[in-house]
Structures are given as C-alpha cells and as structure tokens.
Amino acid sequence: MIAEKKLPAKLSQRQVIGILFRDRAARAYTFSALGALAMIFVVMYLNGSDIGGVLVVLLGSAALVLRWTAMPPFLLLVIAYFHACPFGIPDFGSENPYQVRETYFQVADMVLVMAILVYLRAQYRLFGFVHQIMPFENVFRRKGDVPTRRPSSHIRPDEIAWLVGITGGIVLLGQGAWWLVNALEFAPMENFPLRWSDPKSLRVFRRDLPPGEFRAGQHRFFVILGAMFFGTLLLRLVFSYWQLRMMSAAEGAMVMTDTSWAESHRERVRVEKWRIWGRTRAAEAAKQAEQERKQAARKAEQQREKQAAKERERERKANRAQRD
C-alpha cells in the first residue's frame, strides 16, 4: 500500500492522488465523498438548482484532489444559498408562513443532509491522510514543522460502516431536534418557561399578539438560545468538574499558586519595584563611596608625596648647609 511507505513531509500531487485512489483503505473514503457529492447533485437538481449542483460537485471534487481545506465550510454556504435561491439569482420567492410546519422528516431533506454529512465526514478524514490531522504546536507554522498525517494503515476495516451508521443516527437526531425546536413555545410568564405548541393553532401567525405572547420565529429564537446556553452550561459544569477530579497534584498546586498570585500581584509588583530601587540605590551609594575612598586615598598619597618632597628638600638644604 502507498501509505505504508515512508512518505515525505510534503506530499506531491501525484502522491496525494495515489493515496486517494490507489490506497485500498483510503479510497473507501474517497468514493464515499464522491458518492455523497453525486447524491447532493441529484437532490439539488431535483430541487431545480442544477447550477448549484454542478458547482458543488466541481468544488467538492477539486477540494478532494487539491486539498483545499477551506472548501467544506464554503460548500455548506453554497448549498444553503442555492436552496434559498435555487437559480442562483438572489430572490427568495414567495413567503410561506407554514413552511416550517410542513417540512419535518421529509425524505429529500434527509437524503440531502445525510449526503452532506457523509461528504463532510469523509472529506475531513481524507484531509487527515493527505494534509494534516493535528495542528502545529505553535500558533504560526515555523520552519521545520512537519504536518502530522494519519497513516492509511491505521484505518480500521469497520470505519466506513460506523461512519454511515452514525451519520444516519445524527440525521434522525437533527430532524428530531428541528421538530422539537418548533414544537416548543417560550412562555416566560408560566411556572415552567416552555410549553408544547398547538400545531393546528394559528395564534402565532396573528398580527396583533396579546401581551406575553411571541411569534413563531421569536419562540424559535428563545428555544434555540436557551438550549444552547443551558446545554453549554450543563456540559461545561460536568466536564469542568470531571477535569478537576482528574487534575494532577502539580496542576492543582499551580492553580493555587496562580490564584494566590493573581489576587496579590499588585502588592507584590510594588514590593519588587521598591526592592529593585533599594538595591540600585545601595549599589550607587557603594560605587560613590568607593570613588570617594579612592579619591581620599589619592589625596592622601599626594599629601604624603608633598610631605616627602618637603622632607627631601629640607634634608638637601641641611646637607648643603652642613657642607658649607
């Protein structure tokens, strides 16, 4: 197999194509991604968006072969746009207030979402083989950084089956979530702020709503916002607590030290500045004292020399006088 050989840090396009189409383990993902793109094209074509379908297939295939890592999210935007505007012209058409209620668990939608999900999962996994599966250690890539790629020999035989199975489950979950979001209404005045909506009621479509009531879009907004907020909060609490439980002694000590420092860093900074200032002053004083000492020694030396010169002069005079 291609991937079992030692591949260079930077793959050539030929090597990429070799991995994608000639490596037995990896090509299952390649064909899954291409099949998913074909399915997206069919659904979009049936929806009347043939340009969009072709665009998606072209861009998706190019991203697959040329390793365009930014393309999958961009394709999502393209698909969403061509669903809102099937002909590519920015015109949403006529508004249907009952659209939301009529679109639960529709086969075409489910097939499209499933195909997109399969494409994304396969494409991202392929990026792991031919581009990089882990980020670089540094924020910016440095010279000599080698991208980490998953070897295709690491692929388990049942990976594709699990991928498709889990994708199917997630598609059902997504449909259920969308139904739930629209089946619940936000009721801030009641004891429990959520209630089931009446699917046959037209109350939410009235122009003049009674006080404390919201339109369908507003209900959806509050439900989604609340679900995201409280869901994140709950998960965050659970995992943070778990993380604290798994924390090592050194990590715990670091948290304590850091917290203690953060609470008192202003005072500590002040103390250190004073200390440095004191040290600098002491050094300056010592230097000055040393200079003064040297100066005094030099003066004393000069004084001694003068004295000695005087003595010599006196002796010389005395000698001369004696001679005379």
Binding site: F92, L120, W261
Partner: protein, 696 residues
Amino acid sequence: MLTARGWWFALIVSFILVMGAFVIPNYTTVPAILAVTLLAWFVYEWLQFHYKSNAAVSRLRVRRWVMQGGRDTPMLWANVPFEIRVRVRHTGYVTIDYAVVEDRLPTGADLIKGETESHTTIGWGQPTDVIYTLKCPAPGVLRFEGVKVRVADLHGFFYRRVFLRDAIEFLVLPPLVNAEGRQRADKRFNMLPPPGIHRLRRPGSGDELHDLRDYQPGDPPKMIAWKVSARKDKLITKEYENDVPVRCVLFLDTSDGVRLGPPGNTLLTRMAGVTAVVAQAAAANRDLVGLTTFDDKAAQPTPPARTQTHMINVLRKLAEVSALQPAPTGVPPDQLTRRAYPLAHELYPELMATTTNTMPLSRKWNPLLDKRWGWIVLFIIAIPPCLLAWKVASIMDPEVVRLPRGVNRVVVAWLSNTFSVGVRLTSWLVGGAPLSVRIAVFFVFWLSMLLTPSVIAGMFWVAHGISGWFGMATAELARRKRLAALFSLQDGTGPDAIERLVHDDEAYAERVSRFLQYHQLRCPIPLYDEFGRYRFRCAEKADVLAGAIVRAVSHARDNELYVILADISELGADLEPLVKACRVARARRHHVMVIVPWPADVPSPDEAQEPPAPPPEIGRRKNKKRHPDDFLPNERHKRLTKIVQANLTRQYHESFRKMRRLLGATGATVMRVDDGDPVRLVLDRLDRLRGMRSRR
C-alpha cells in the same frame, strides 16, 4: 482544544443556523435543518472527544526499558547501540481512537534504527509500544524526559497534547578501550634510569633486598640473614623492598572553558575520552590509577586504586563530568526565555496552559504613575473636579478658605465662560424645549466643558494603560511570568517568587540557566564580555590544580606519573602556582605530563604560518580609484574577519608556546591532545616508569 478547523466549521454552521432558523425559514427550512444536524454532529464529536480525553488521556501511563546487550541495564556504554522500549497504556475502559505517541529523544544520542513515534489506537488492555535503537557517540548523561502523546479526533476538530513525564537519567560510560589500549606493555624498555632518579625505598614484602638490620624479637626466623649473623656474631634480619606498583594520577579540567561546544563534542568530552582510555589501559597493566577533577572552584580527588569497582567509579565520574554544561552567565534574559519557554511548554504543557498559569489583563496594564510625568496627568485629572467642588463649597459656605487671588481669577473666568457657552449652546440646540429639559441639557453641556481636561487626561491614562496589552514586551512579560510560576512551583517558593523572578534579571537568569542545565538544553553563550575579554579563562583553576598536585605529591608513595589534562594555554602569568606545583612534583622525582586540548578551528602551532594576504592591488593609473572595501562591505567584513582570526590564532600560539616553555622548564612534558596519540605517550611513560623499577 478546538482546532482552527473546528472553529471555522462551528462558525459557518452557526451562521447558517442563524440565517436558516431566523431569516429564511418561511422560504426554505433546509439550511436550518442542515445547520441543526451539523451542530448535533459537532456536539456529538465534542462530547465524545471530551469524554475520551478525561476518561482515557488523563489516565495514560508510561513505562520504559533501556536494554543493552539484550538485557535491562542501569548504565550505558558510549558507541554501543542500545534499545529503548516505551510502553504507553491507560487504566480506563475507553478507547482512544487516534493518538500519536512520541518519545522525546534525549540530547547527545543518535537514532540508529526504528522510529520514535507511533500512530496508534490505545484501548483498554491494548498498550502501544515504541521501540527504537540509539547510540551515544560520547560519554555523558542521557536524560529521557518522557513521552509526548497527541490525541485528535479523526476529523481534526479537536486536539489535545499531554506529556507523560517519566524523567530518568542514564550514565553513558566512556567507551571501553580498543585493542591498542588493551595491549599489555610486555616489551620492557632496555634502558637504565637517568642519573639522579631513585626510587622511594621502603621496607616491604618485595623480592629485592633493601637493607639489613639488627634482629628484633618477633622477626620471623626465615628473615634472619644467617651468614651475616655468623660473621657479626649477632642476629641480623633481612629487609626486602616494598613492591610499590606504578601509580598514575589523572587531573582532568572541568571548568566552564572546556564545557563549551556542541553536546558530545566539547573539549571536556574529548579529554574525558583520553582519560578513560589511559585509566583502563593502566588498570589492564595492573597499575593504580587515580582521578582528580577540578574546576576554578574546587578539586575532587579519587585516590589511586586498581580494583574493578574503582575503575567503574572512575568511569562514572568521567561520564558525569562529561555531561557538565557551562553556566550561561552574561546571556540576556530574553534570550534565555526564548530557549526555556518552548522547552517548558513542551515538557509541562498542563502547567504552562493559559487556564492554569494565567496572565490577567490587569497585570499587563501599563501603570502611568511609574513615570514622573504620570503625576502631571493625574494632577490634570484631579484638578477640575476639585476646583468645582471648592467653588460649590464656597457658594454654600462663604467661610471656606479662599484661593490665591490670581488662581481665583482664572477659576472664576473659566467657570463664567463655560457657563455662558453652555447657556448659548442650550438655547441654540433646545431653545423651544420645556424648562426642565433645558436645565438638564445645560448642566450636561456645562459639566462636560468643565471636566474636559479631566476627561482628556483620563482617556490618555486609559490609552497608556491599554498600550501595555500589546507589543513584544507584553508577550515577553507573559512568557516570563509563566516560566516564573513554573519555577516557583518547582522550588516550592510560592507566589512570592513569581514577581521576584519577573523583576530581578539576575535571579531570573540564574534560575533559567539551572532549568536549562537540568534538562540538558544548551544556550548560545557570549564568549567575550563587553570589554572584549574572554569570559571563560577561569584563571583560578591554576591555583586549584596546583593545590591538587601538591596534595597528590604529599600522598605519593613512589615515583608517580601525573597527567594533567587541562586547558591552560591562555593562563599566562596566572600559571605561576602551577609551575611551582610542578617543580615540587619533579623535586620528588615524579613525572608530569600536560595534555592541552586544542580548539578544532585553530591550526597547529607547528604548522608554517601563511603570510597574510597582501592588500588588493589598486591601479595607480587613477589615483582617485576607491578601495574595494569602500563599496564591497561583504569583502571588507571577510577581510576583517580573516585579520581578527589570524591575530587571535597568533595570540593563542604565543600563549601556548609561553606555557610550554614555562612548564617545560620544570621538566614537565607538554603536548596537545590532537598531536599524535597522547594515550600512547602516557602509556609509554608508564612503561618507562615501570622499566626504571624493574631495571634499577
């Protein structure tokens, strides 16, 4: 934990969700359903990764085996390959789908076979092994820090790196001697000892007769010299010479000057290699070998012996000193940080993470009052409200102390002018509004104008403070704080030490250098100080070495060989104590050999010096032609470098010759480590000593 790929995906999906669920749901619901489904998938992957991260990654354990010669070994030999086996497992019940296990290669070892990283799945009861073979080219200490484990989901959305610290050190003993070193000196030199050389004679249990003396009660009868006793008519006892073996004491320089260089290729490593070969060859000849290591502070003697344990101890000591690193004194703190921070980040990722080792914005705030002019800004901020308050107080209570007349006039003018401007502005803007509105608007305008200096100065204060959040200095401060926190945790000094290390450059440099040495990471060190003097001359080591030689002489039992392996070429006048010590040793009939390490980039002093290249010819046709140095800076730089190098080489040769002359005058043999085979020379000298004894 979330990668850039994950962030972009979450961002785009959120955007589609907002558009699909709130902007276009009455036209099409497919984008909303798609976004909700993708979000569900993202949350599923997130949950799965977090679950596995906590349940399995946090429970990873590592075990290491180092095998040489097919068995687990506590010590290694240089130049002999050895196998490393690293096993990573976890005690949880969850499977890590994809992990890259990478053993951190220690400094000073070469990878021979295998790979240090493995792409693997770590499940319960399914440990992963990394097996590879290393070889150490030089003696020293091999330090394995641990194993880096990187975990990611298969789509590259989430990522976590942990470092399983399993620090363990192995001594790499110098290589065993080669065939030449093992050779036993069977051939005796056919020579007599030079005139004046005598052995230190002591009575003992040798074969040669030493002296005769009167019998003392207790002397064994077999020692009685019967013929002499009969001749002298009294009992005489024979005394035999003490059979003292040849002893060799090796003095190895371990000062900072010889520690410089790339790991495994320092002067110290080369000298340690020579020492090891000499020690083993001498021991193979049943000679006693001692080792004294010294630097510019102290000497550590190991008395001569010839047991196997002693030899192992000598080799261990050589391995330990080979791993010594120069103290990175004089290195700027930011350069030390550049070395230490990535290392700390790699080895202690959880302690250097921004969640555990924080750097709050308030710490980065640039304090204004540290500057002298900051007090002026504070004065400008404070003075308008104070004056206003004083004016209000003086209106309320006329007994309030008045301001000086000039100041009072300025304040009154300022109040009245701003008041009139406020009135005009109010009547212009809201002239037709009710009275209460007009009064409110007037007060807003008036106070705004009154407090304008304070507001401007306050804004300046804020801008100055916020400027501390950006720039290289801030990044450096954050890195330094994180390192300081790590050090304070390791030293147990608590939060007090953090700010001390941040502020005190000396303490910080000392601690970082200790950290780097502990983890065997070398840092480029300036060789010359600001006055152009060589920093690693270590002149004090001559005193220490002289003391060690005199001590060895005082403990000597017979003519011994002292082999000094030291970088003393540049000591100059500071060699005086060493010269005296050599004289003492020679006066006691000991032999002294000095082996000096020689820098690889300096030519031999015995080679003929090339005359300096003549300056490039400049045509005289045009007197105004410019010198090539004026318009070719690279050429000029090259030429200058050559001149400096030539001068330095000449200076080094001069100092070496002076040293050789000084020590040679005492009778010591001086040679360079790269000149011929110093080991052979030492062994020959030992044989000569042995020959002197056997020939007498």
